[in-house]
């Protein structure tokens, strides 16, 4: 499961090499932080939880058996840390209604996205992801971080592949519904 480089890096860290650990942090911090920010919805909490995640990684690394990819193991720690934080703060984002979603809307939204400049598109996508409930945001984020590998996702989320598929479908629908609503608002705003 582990690559030779990862094995070497882990051995160095286990022998107390902190420089090797900072390399590991630099290699994974953006991914962990992105997952945290999409689940928690704010930068301060995401930064704090990301830091806790890496401290946990450092202390638990000696018990890591290597039965999954190193990144999968780190995502699992990050995902659980975010769930703990959400449980503690009891923050819940608004429910997303998906009933009004029209299948024909995808190509229209697709074209609209193509016409946007890169920066504008990134801001819009980020705001849509931020409006998703934590569970849906995490499942979508992890699906693409894990390069659509459901087996690795099973290890992160501790769920069966079928349950993940169902949740992925629901998350996709919610994301599209949020985006549709944003486009509707913008169209109304531009016309009015």
């Amino acid at each position: 499961m582990l690559t030779t480089n990862e094995k070497e890096l882990i051995n160095k860290i286990r022998n107390g090499n902190t420089v090797a650990f900072s390399d590991l942090v630099d290699g994974h911090k953006d991914l962990v932080y992105t997952l945290c920010i999409r689940m928690l919805g704010n930068r301060e909490d995401a930064e704090e939880v990301s830091q806790d995640v890496f401290i946990k990684v450092f202390t638990a690394l000696r018990n890591f058996k290597g039965d999954s990819k190193l990144s999968t193991w780190i995502y699992r720690i990050a995902y659980n840390a975010c769930l703990d934080r959400l449980k503690r703060t009891k923050k819940e984002r608004m429910r997303v209604e998906v009933d009004h979603l029209k299948g024909s809307a995808f190509s229209v939204m697709d074209n609209a996205l193509d016409r946007m400049v890169q920066e504008e598109r990134s801001v819009l996508i980020n705001s849509c992801l931020a409006a998703l409930p934590a569970e849906d945001a995490s499942i979508l984020t992890l699906f693409y971080f894990e390069e659509k590998n459901l087996l690795e996702m099973e290890k992160v989320l501790d769920l069966s592949a079928n349950t993940i598929k169902v949740r992925l479908f629901r998350a996709r629908k919610k994301l599209a519904a949020i985006m549709e609503r944003k486009f509707d608002k913008e169209t109304v705003g531009n016309n009015g």
Partner: protein
């Protein structure tokens, strides 16, 4: 939603997620984290470990208590019976400390010894604190 629409939805979300930018934490994230990590590491290195393990201490304690109980049951609590009945310790003490009987010392010497003892115990927590600080900084 039919199969075709599901596929379109999937392709649409694939495109969105491919464009979704990765977020980056603050610039000094790794630096701050490494400071925490080094503190954790030092705590691990200098974690207090008793020289005699707990199990051995418990064993010694149980052994002493049972030996005492056995001796009491066997010989009773009277001081002139059992073990010590035939042992005479007075001559030993007379030889060792007999010379002290006629010894007198000045008040100043007594005060000096007392003060020395007092200051010795004052130093203990100070030295302990100093050593701990130095070890933590290393």
């Amino acid at each position: 939603m039919d199969k075709q629409e599901e596929k379109e939805l999937e392709a649409f979300v694939d495109k969105i997620m491919a464009d979704a930018p990765l977020e980056s934490p603050s610039a000094d994230f790794t630096k701050n984290l490494m400071q925490h990590i080094e503190a954790v590491q030092h705590k691990e290195v200098y974690q207090y470990r008793p020289i005699v393990p707990k199990q051995v201490l418990v064993l010694i304690f149980v052994g002493l208590v049972s030996l005492t109980l056995y001796l009491i049951a066997q010989y009773g609590l009277e001081s002139d019976g059992g073990w010590f009945g035939n042992v005479s310790v007075e001559p030993v003490f007379d030889n060792m400390w007999g010379w002290l009987e006629n010894y007198t010392s000045s008040k100043i010497l007594i005060y000096a010894v007392l003060l020395f003892g007092l200051l010795f115990f004052v130093q203990v927590p100070l030295i302990k604190k100093q050593l701990e600080r130095n070890i933590m900084l290393e």
